[in-house]
């Protein structure tokens, strides 16, 4: 991402020489990015380029080996409650109770995130991802695509300000992809503060449908960036 003179309030995600090594080998090597609030940035790169490592550190699930990362001014390494309240995450693997129904799973997490009017919110989200009719079925019986739709709903449950998505298209059919695009775009416009999206993807042909910019990684380093849609 081009270095700009953004203020702290304008920056949703900021990393400074962020590094992560596994057994001495760098998976992420001095990555510095600045992503403005409200941007929808595609994280591109081949397998092993460091996309998941970057998203995992930003999600507070992995400690960096060096450098720093901030989300809306919060230091990621400190893993504060305030930070965790403002991020929504989709990881490579669904994060769902297999022997719960979607309603049971979302009700628990609505309680954890203290979502107001949770019943209404859950109904709205399950309807948006078009699995309301499956609300009482066990998640373990769902297809990968249905689980992914539920994960999209779950990541948006607490109205996060920053979405960190690791290959959110996995398992989705054309209809599912449309739902994903709509929710990413719709959510970006919901509320007063625009939602910032950083999403790793291998579907480069789809990036221009939703992204306002991209960051391309290779062997843990940034090799190309673009800020605006014109650069795509």
């Amino acid at each position: 991402m081009e270095r700009t003179e953004k203020t702290m309030q304008d920056l949703a995600i900021e990393t400074n020489c962020l590094t992560r090594r596994y057994d001495g080998l760098p998976a992420l090597n001095k990555v510095s990015i600045q992503i403005a609030s409200g941007s929808r940035i595609a994280l591109l790169g081949n397998n092993g380029s460091g996309k998941t490592t970057l998203l995992t550190i930003l999600s507070t699930l992995l400690q960096s080996s060096g450098g720093s990362a901030r989300i809306l001014g919060y230091d990621v390494a400190k893993k504060t409650t305030a930070l965790r309240n403002i991020i929504g995450v989709i990881r490579h693997q669904p994060m769902l109770y297999e022997n719960f129904s979607p309603i049971e799973d979302l009700e628990l997490f609505a309680k954890i995130y203290q979502v107001p009017d949770s019943d209404e919110r859950i109904k709205k989200l399950l309807t948006s991802v078009e699995i309301w009719h499956l609300r009482d079925e066990m998640i373990g019986t769902f297809s990968r695509g249905q689980k992914q739709r539920l994960m999209i709903a779950k990541s948006l449950l607490h109205k996060p300000k920053v979405l960190l998505l690791d290959e959110p298209e996995i398992g989705l059919d054309q209809d599912g992809l449309r739902v994903l695009d709509q929710l990413i775009l719709m959510n970006a416009e919901e509320g007063s503060t625009p939602v910032t999206v950083l999403a790793a993807t291998h579907r480069e042909e789809r990036v221009d449908t939703w992204a306002t910019g991209f960051v391309r990684l290779e062997r843990g380093q940034i090799i190309e960036t673009a800020l605006s849609k014109d650069n795509l």
């Binding site: 994060m95 309680k111 954890i112």
Partner: protein, 222 residues
């Protein structure tokens, strides 16, 4: 997030853990089946008079409880990890200690259910009054102590990618003092000795120590 909110969320998470354990019975059925089989084997192996049974019962009971407990709790975080639930909880605003306490309490409740049923079974098999208030207290305190440690170790164990091998290797030496106190307290209770109270006190101290250490260490197992 303040304490009352954490307690409220902890209650919900405990309920979720119990519901999850009830619906996915794998660990608990394995533990229960092991316990029943072991108890039956012991009852046939020791064709003993009442007096001699009393000497052996504390060891029999706690050996069965220990290994069925390891079966039941050893993989307690495994499903949560496999389903990504542990990650979902870790990135949520819930405090790590709340995650640990809710899981440990669920394990304790499920184990106590199995153990009390076993005590009833052993009462019939060995013709010994094992379902006494004092013995139930000893079993409850001992179970809290070893479940606190084994649940913590099952969380640490996950990151080692070794198929559960570390749990017995790490847990058993740490549990020795607690198990000795449990066996001695049970023995004193069965023999109806006057010296049961000091052993119960020692067992309680070990339990408080292991529970406190495990609760404080869980966030570091991240």
């Amino acid at each position: 997030m303040n304490l009352p909110t954490q307690l409220q969320i902890g209650g919900k998470l405990l309920n979720a853990n119990l519901k999850q354990a009830w619906r996915d019975k794998t660990n608990w059925i394995t533990a229960g089946m092991f316990a029943v089989t072991a108890l039956l084997l012991y009852s046939f192996a020791f064709n003993l008079t009442t007096g001699l049974v009393r000497n052996l019962l504390p060891g029999v009971i706690w050996t069965v409880f220990l290994f069925s407990g390891i079966f039941a709790t050893g993989q307690s975080f495994q499903h949560d990890r496999q389903n990504g639930i542990l990650d979902a909880l870790k990135i949520s605003p819930i405090h790590p200690m709340t995650i640990y306490i809710a899981k440990t309490l669920a394990n304790i409740l499920m184990l106590l259910l199995i153990e009390f049923a076993l005590l009833l079974g052993a009462t019939i098999l060995f013709s010994e009054p094992l379902f006494t208030p004092q013995l139930l207290l000893i079993v409850t305190i001992g179970t809290i102590g070893y479940t606190a440690l084994s649940t913590l170790l099952s969380a640490i164990n996950l990151d080692q990618n070794n198929g559960g091998l570390l749990l017995p290797v790490l847990a058993l030496p740490l549990l020795v003092p607690l198990l000795i106190a449990s066996v001695e307290a049970t023995s004193a209770s069965l023999q109806q000795e006057a010296g049961t109270a000091p052993w119960i006190l020692l067992l309680s101290l070990f339990t408080i120590w292991s529970t406190a250490i495990a609760t404080l260490m869980f966030p570091l197992a991240d």
